[in-house]
């Protein structure tokens, strides 16, 4: 035995140096948001799906005629779709995979024991996604404008509303997947859903380019609602009611399920 005898008199109590105290809540949340954002931007696979693929699709679909879009003004149709796809990539696929692995590795549990807590962790994630999307939108809008895109200015506020709604709906779905499945299953599901919605979810291209029954269903999916809503807003300058209702319903439904079913470990 090398230690002193135990007991409250054996040492100063509380510890002589005192505990470090919690940092203010906004510092904790912004620190978490910064970590989340850097993790996406540093990680090759995440960067490909959130930024590189959307930029490639924007350029290829605008500059080539391999896919018949049924319109001469290709960029007006493609640019809003690519913005919607970028939202889906960052808020759903990328977030589901990151959260799924953080959950398996115990990161969610460890951070919940620090002054950040579970609420701060969720707030940090939300802010981190918003920051990633700000970067995405800036890059994509600049590339699209360089390619000749001239969106209807009066539709921009409506587009912002739709992006925020779409982000909350897709984030709720991401946390539902990440909080209920094994990490490997999350990886598979998040990528598969991304591919399926890209092909048949009316996110990138309008629902009326899809076969009739699929097109009708796609407008009720968050992908079709966000894509269709952004196309309506940025070409027609209006805030369409249908997509707003669909995205709100997905947010409420997935949010309620996530709150009930999400497991932290």
């Amino acid at each position: 035995m090398t230690g002193p005898t135990t007991g409250p008199t054996a040492a100063a109590w509380p510890p002589a140096s005192g505990h470090a105290g919690a940092a203010p809540w906004y510092r904790r949340v912004t620190a978490q948001a910064g970590l989340e954002m850097r993790t996406v931007l540093r990680n090759g696979e995440q960067l490909v799906i959130t930024l590189v693929l959307p930029v490639l699709l924007l350029v290829v679909l605008t500059r080539t005629t391999a896919v018949d879009l049924g319109t001469g003004d290709r960029i007006a149709l493609v640019a809003p779709g690519v913005l919607a796809l970028a939202v889906m990539s960052a808020a759903f696929t990328s977030q589901a995979i990151a959260t799924g692995f953080d959950r398996r590795n115990g990161v969610l549990r460890l951070l919940a024991t620090t002054p950040l807590g579970r609420t701060g962790l969720l707030a940090g994630k939300a802010l981190g996604i918003a920051a990633v999307q700000a970067v995405q939108m800036a890059v994509l809008v600049v590339v699209a404008v360089v390619l000749g895109w001239r969106p209807v200015a009066s539709g921009v506020p409506a587009a912002v509303v739709l992006v925020v709604l779409g982000t909350t709906a897709f984030t709720a779905l991401a946390l539902l997947v990440a909080g209920t499945m094994r990490a490997e299953a999350v990886l598979a599901v998040a990528n598969l859903v991304w591919v399926l919605l890209l092909a048949g979810g009316a996110v990138l291209l309008p629902a009326d380019l899809l076969p009739a029954p699929l097109g009708a269903v796609a407008q009720l999916l968050p992908s079709g609602a966000l894509g269709g809503g952004l196309r309506a807003a940025l070409t027609g300058g209006e805030l369409p009611a249908g997509p707003v209702v669909v995205l709100t319903a997905w947010t409420v439904g997935a949010g309620a399920l996530t709150a009930r079913l999400f497991r932290w470990s």
Binding site: A10, A23, G106, G117
Partner: protein, 344 residues
């Protein structure tokens, strides 16, 4: 996460009935179930400030579950848990800045560089420990730019320990802090734990390494089957009051005239030797060594008389003693006596 069960006494009344306790951690009758499995069954545990309390037990004994209830990560199904006099679930916000946690599975984000992980955890505190000093102490500098997923097990352990103590905790829960460490890292980790203790921090660590408990702990709680089966100082547990055995005699034997089909039968011999010693009036317990069919362990007061009795029994039984070693009783002896030899 399930809601915390209703506490039997309202918190305000609780304070009136129970005077402020000097215990940093107090667990009374903790029960925790996973489905129908009862992982913890009425466990008691006390940890004091300025002391290292080791929770020692075999795999699946309920160590990690107990610690996770203290960390507020799980809600107890029964009993009470108090950390610094507070409820880890209901009072989590007040406790988080005062409690440091090192999880068994690390809890470190895999794609983030090690140095950034520590800076990130430090940024949650108003006045964290200086990172350079902590990094030097635990040798983190050499891999600060390496992503967590590329670290060795020992490097991860040291980083996780640094994250647990960077907030100058009043109570630190360390789940198997030395698992996978090389001897140099282990010494660095133990030195840091001792320094925290001397500064007044209450440290609760789980381990199944006897050396760690013997070297580091001021207080040991042996856990088995979801209960605390013994508690005390390491010295007290090994040779303290109420103990009847103070040493171990290990011997190997072979039959002098073995028929071709006779194989060593340590279990049979252990029974016979135990009976023989009892007839001679010696208080002893004889075990067959599960690792070798020809080895016996006699737990008793080791003295020349015992050696004479054991060798005389071997002679009478037609056995040749091929090796004989006497040693003091160790914490491992106590641990195996308390928790048995069956594999978990």
């Amino acid at each position: 996460m399930r809601a915390a069960p209703r506490r039997p006494v309202p918190p305000d009344l609780d304070c009136v009935l129970v005077p402020t306790s000097p215990d940093a951690v107090r667990v009374d009758g903790l029960v925790k179930r996973y489905g129908r499995v009862e992982a913890v069954r009425g466990l008691d545990l006390v940890a004091r400030p300025g002391a290292v309390t080791a929770v020692l037990g075999p795999n699946g004994a309920g160590k990690t579950t107990t610690v996770e209830c203290c960390e507020g990560l799980r809600s107890p199904d029964g009993g009470t848990v108090r950390v610094l006099g507070l409820d880890p679930v209901a009072d989590a916000r007040a406790l988080r800045p005062r409690v440091g946690v090192m999880l068994q599975d690390g809890g470190l984000p895999s794609t983030v560089p090690a140095g950034e992980v520590l800076r990130h955890v430090a940024s949650m505190y108003a006045r964290p420990r200086p990172l350079d000093e902590l990094g030097d102490r635990l040798g983190l500098g050499s891999f600060a730019r390496t992503q967590v997923r590329r670290l060795s097990g020992g490097q991860r352990q040291r980083l996780a320990l640094a994250a647990a103590v960077v907030g100058r905790p009043e109570v630190a829960f360390l789940d198997e802090p030395s698992a996978g460490l090389d001897p140099q890292s282990r010494i660095a980790v133990w030195d840091l734990v001792r320094e925290l203790r001397d500064d007044g921090t209450a440290i609760v660590l789980t381990t199944h390494q006897m050396a760690e408990a013997e070297q580091l702990a001021d207080h040991v709680v042996v856990v088995d089957g979801g209960r605390a089966v013994a508690a005390g100082t390491p010295g007290g547990l090994v040779g303290g009051a109420g103990q009847t055995t103070a040493g171990t005699l290990r011997l190997t034997v072979v039959p002098v005239r073995a028929p071709a089909d006779t194989r060593p039968a340590a279990a049979t011999w252990a029974g016979a030797l135990g009976a023989s010693l009892e007839r001679a009036g010696v208080v002893a317990r004889v075990d067959a060594d599960p690792r070798r069919a020809d080895a016996l362990e006699v737990h008793a007061q080791v003295d020349p008389g015992l050696v004479r009795l054991v060798t005389a029994w071997a002679d009478d039984t037609g056995l040749l003693v091929t090796s004989l070693a006497a040693g003091p009783r160790t914490l491992e002896d106590v641990f195996l006596e308390l928790t048995g030899r069956s594999l978990r």
